[in-house]
Symmetry: C2
Subunit: 288 residues, 2 copies
């Protein structure tokens, strides 16, 4: 499975950003699967709560048609990350998967964060499509989005439903004011937790993050320096390819999908799950 992860900046407008994305896709010549970062068409607008950004979501249907055409033109499976208006006042952070001109399926981000600079609960209704792998011509894609990456539950369910690869379009970065050791811990944690999903489930994993500094338009916070570091890892969590923390990059890798069975056969974690004793996982907290 020849994959390409497009790590890029926001270029000041939706038009300029998409133009750059298309140039980068052009570079990903023989990729079969191309993954774009979270909300790749625009700036990461969740740095503040402003109703004017809901206008972006009104273009969802047109956006879908546009990326569908791109997937057809390049004869690729394409994972796009779009802002979906489902009804006025009801919006989702939605990954749409295209398969060579066909809409293969979509995933609405299930876990929604909300912390300073990442005010996503204002914009996005938590997804209601569950954790369902999307069938494509390159395999069953376990597409999740950003904050989902902190939840082993999400990755596990995708694996139990037959996903063959885990995919995380993401927008995560540093605040410049944080000390260096805290920045390093955050980046390490972000890489580590995702590698662990690969390990626990014996699956390859693709994580695609944006780069560049984006100012907080309200001036309340300084802004976010998106830390890049998009990566591909294998079913033992081994890093196979990794981007840096500041460049636009087309990260390509040819994944050996046969390794999942080989790894799961020596590390048969799925065999020994204690489903008789996991009931507490369906509770908020087990204090009663």
């Amino acid at each position: 499975m020849k994959v390409a992860l497009i790590q890029q900046r926001y270029h000041g407008s939706k038009e300029a950003t998409i133009k750059r994305t298309l140039e980068l896709i052009q570079k990903a010549e023989d990729a079969q699967l191309v993954v774009l970062q979270e909300l790749h068409q625009t700036e990461y607008f969740c740095q503040c709560e402003d109703t004017r950004f809901f206008d972006y979501a009104k273009e969802f249907e047109d956006d879908v048609t546009f990326w569908q055409d791109v997937s057809k033109k390049h004869d690729i499976v394409l994972v796009a990350s779009l802002f979906e208006m489902r009804a006025p006042g009801l919006y989702h952070n939605t990954a749409v998967v295209f398969d060579r001109g066909r809409i293969a399926g979509k995933y609405r981000k299930m876990h929604i964060p909300d912390d300073p600079g990442f005010y996503e609960k204002f914009y996005f209704t938590p997804g209601d499509l569950g954790f369902e792998p999307i069938e494509t011509s390159v395999g069953r894609l376990g597409v999740l989005v950003c904050w989902d990456q902190w939840y082993p539950e999400a990755a596990r369910i995708m694996a139990l439903k037959g996903a063959e690869v885990l995919i995380y379009p993401t927008a995560i970065g540093w605040f410049d004011a944080d000390p260096e050791d805290e920045k390093q811990r955050q980046l390490d944690a972000w890489i580590t937790i995702q590698r662990s999903h690969a390990i626990a489930n014996g699956l390859p994993l693709l994580s695609v993050n944006r780069v560049g500094f984006e100012k907080d338009p309200t001036g309340c916070l300084d802004g976010i320096r998106f830390w890049g570091n998009s990566f591909v890892c294998g079913p033992q969590g081994e890093i196979l390819a990794q981007a840096d923390n500041e460049s636009e990059q087309v990260l390509m890798y040819d994944i050996d999908t046969e390794r999942t069975k080989a790894v799961r056969d020596i590390w048969p974690f799925l065999r020994d799950r204690r489903i008789d004793a996991y009931g507490c996982l369906l509770q908020r907290y087990c204090d009663n």
Copy 2:
């Protein structure tokens, strides 16, 4: 919370091994919590299937009394890992927690491995006490054992039940015949998955592994080179202390337990769990 992790070898007999353990505990002078490795009294006997090893488990009650006394003498909380005979033909891999001379609780290993050289399903009935933190004078200990470490479910349930630290007595190692890159992937995966439990749950974590080479007594396999690397990590998965891969070592660290709240307040993963959508976790596989 001043912790000491005792990483050691098997010294040819139960008596010699315990003697060495006591010397190492003596060195852990001002520790409040001392954690021993998996099945620390003897060799890792699961390299072959031999009924004579069930004799070890007959001494369980005496072993409990012995380590209870040790915890009293040193005025420590002590996590021991023992082979428990519950009835003839019914045995468990059991961690017993002692609190300054009192038996605080026990945990019977829930996930039981079975692969070449690690024939644990022959010896150990899967635990039936569930995932319950054990209350002690140093805090609520989320004690799990070895193979459990590959299961995010186990760590999560301990956290949801109020564990304040995750603890893994372990016996894991390399086969010398494996290539270096495979060995590195295995060690990295082992560290990574455990760090991820710390991250996902905002908890510090202690992992205690044995060292040294132990021959397979049947000669079918060469034997296992236990890889040590016992470590302490913090609630962002950051490594705080780590042993090497061949030395007996008392790894000490003073854990700041206040960091859990600080980290969980900025990374509130527990807040956003989608318990309405996790039902599949209670299934073996979601193919129906």
